[in-house]
């Protein structure tokens, strides 16, 4: 008899989702899906608002990565204003974005995934939490808390709040950096390096014990998308996008935000409120790709900071071409955190970072604008249309998690087929299937939006569980 296994909710993720695994009559996995079960609607209710409100409005999409939305939204507004922001403002935003990346990656690695990595996938779920990690390895736990504090305190110093900060506005930032704040951040750097070094050492020691998971966790060839600088180094705030194929060859380079809106499409599937992004010239689903730490490190040939450079060389030795297993998102996340700490130190060491000129001003000069940035989870794009008075007519967001959606679903199916056989499974096997999704560190709150009309299915089920009637709106 066929059977459906449901994991609901998927735990230790940001947002709400479930996994369904469909077994055929032989008990083998026929299909599996990752469903995003929440709806937000930011793109619709921003219609009618003045465009300059959009950064602070869009930051409310998420409590973990609001800075990414602030930055991408501000850049979309600046495209409408047709302004170039002052260099110091760009550097300050870069620093804020990197601080967010560090604290978000710390949350993902230490709070959400380290219970699996440190305590084991089969550990009793009651133990398999941040409290379990604290009891088993307090030094690593302290490192995680310290790295999260590092990123959040920088955000609070710059943006006045650690969650949903302000400060980033169309045209730049609202105020320059004070020397006292610069010095306070610089004083935090040595401890951040120590904590990161501890985490990297701990990860490298335990990674080799997860050979089976490495082979089965969304381990397949895909295309990859991410921002790159002109000098081939990694970038999170400016630069241009590059799409590479599974062998590492460039499919398209130098992609601006405007070009992104032309070549990236979004498909809708009936089982999820999150869209499935794809590269239109290759069609759907062949044009699907991955974004985020694994993709970024696969795309760039250098980090641009000395310590992270060493780690990138080691990372690239994991495979001959692009590193394919999504398990290695964990490794890539740690390398990016190291880069973030180094880059923040470098930015603050330039005396020009205290320059008072941090904002450009203008009105509406174009009726459409797009802005892109790298969120912790991957590429983020905001695209807006306004009227002559700057009133929002339309908004579309392409979120990192939607761009990873196809790979997450394929990954869930791959893991389910690997671990569930003859209809038999254990709690540890189901945890592994959840852990595949965790490697992507999805932000489900960010990723779910209305697409015109939402696909909707209503089923009427009797007391015995039999479906009496069904209505579908596609």
């Amino acid at each position: 008899m066929s059977q459906t296994i449901t994991i609901d909710p998927v735990t230790r993720l940001e947002g709400h989702g479930k996994i369904t695994i469909h077994l055929n009559e032989a008990g083998d996995v026929e299909n599996a899906h990752f469903h995003v079960t929440q709806v937000r609607g930011f793109e619709r209710f921003s219609e009618g608002r003045p465009f300059y409100e959009m950064p602070s409005l869009m930051a409310r999409i998420c409590g973990i990565c609001p800075v990414s939305h602030l930055v991408a939204s501000a850049k979309a507004c600046e495209a409408i204003m047709a302004v170039r922001i002052p260099h110091t403002a760009a550097q300050l935003r870069r620093m804020l974005n990197l601080a967010q990346m560090v604290q978000s990656h710390a949350l993902s690695f230490f709070y959400l995934s380290s219970p699996d990595l440190l305590l084991g996938m089969e550990t009793d779920p009651v133990q398999r939490s941040i409290l379990g990690v604290a009891a088993a390895n307090p030094e690593l736990g302290r490192a995680g808390v310290g790295l999260r504090r590092f990123g959040q305190h920088i955000i609070e110093l710059l943006g006045n709040k650690r969650i949903h900060p302000g400060w980033v506005v169309p045209g730049g930032v609202t105020e320059p950096l004070a020397s006292a704040k610069r010095d306070e951040i610089l004083a935090m750097i040595p401890e951040a390096y120590r904590n990161l070094s501890l985490a990297l050492d701990a990860y490298k020691k335990i990674a080799s014990t997860f050979k089976d998971e490495i082979s089965a966790f969304a381990n397949f060839p895909t295309n990859y998308l991410g921002l790159v600088n002109d000098d081939e180094s990694i970038e999170f705030t400016d630069g241009a996008l590059r799409l590479i194929d599974a062998k590492g060859a460039t499919i398209e380079d130098g992609m601006t935000a405007t070009r992104f809106t032309e070549v990236i499409g979004e498909a809708v599937e009936p089982y999820s409120y999150t869209k499935f992004a794809y590269y239109k010239p290759l069609g759907y689903p062949e044009g699907s790709y991955r974004v985020g730490p694994l993709a970024r490190l696969n795309i760039v040939s250098k980090m641009g900071t000395p310590k992270a450079e060493v780690e990138l060389v080691e990372f690239k030795q994991l495979a001959k071409g692009p590193v394919e297993s999504s398990f290695y998102y964990h490794h890539a996340r740690l390398v990016e955190m190291l880069y973030g700490i180094e880059k923040i130190e470098e930015i603050l060491s330039d005396p020009k970072i205290l320059d008072p000129h941090v904002r450009a001003t203008a009105g509406v000069n174009r009726l459409e604008g797009a802005g892109q940035a790298e969120a912790p989870r991957g590429t983020l794009m905001h695209n807006y249309k306004v009227d002559e008075n700057g009133k929002m007519l339309w908004a579309n967001l392409v979120i990192a998690t939607g761009q990873n959606n196809n790979a997450m679903n394929r990954g869930v199916l791959q893991a389910a087929r690997h671990y569930v056989k003859d209809g038999k499974f254990t709690e540890g096997m189901l945890n592994r299937i959840e852990a595949v999704v965790r490697t992507f560190d999805p932000c489900l709150s960010c990723s779910s939006h209305a697409f015109g009309q939402m696909p909707l299915e209503v089923s009427l089920v009797d007391a015995g569980g039999a479906t009496i009637d069904r209505v579908v709106r596609s």
Binding site: G63, V126, S129, A134, V145, R149
Partner: protein, 159 residues
Amino acid sequence: MKLDSSPARCLILACGNTLRNDDGIGPNLAEWAEERFEQDSNIRVIARQQFTPDLAEEIAAAESVLFIDSSVELRPGRVDFFPVIPRTANGGTATHQFDAPDLLALARDLYDSRSAHAMLLTVGAGSMELGESFSDEVEAALPRARGVIEKAVFRFLEN
């Protein structure tokens, strides 16, 4: 709230969502405490939307901690005040639902910290709907809740 991260003898740690009517009682009382004890460097006040693991570090840096939160299990406006015991190792927890016992356990396990006093002040919530106002019962409970905070802080600092 202050950005000062220096340790204090007494930490007042409140959580709640100010956009969910009575769930905002924690941040409201924290704001009052911030003003009430502004001149006293022995007291540090933190208000957050939810309790998160990184707050364990703040707890470890203080001698005593007073948690403040709303409660849907109490009748609206009821003020309860009781000691908090750190979660045991086998208690089980979810990162999204960290509470005061979890935080004390984390402070113990990560920083070998044991608070001299750890108390929780809860106020029964009438409405958790979207909104920025308190129900009549919670509004009426504010003076009593403030009185409890004052007495607790003075007692913590006496010892």
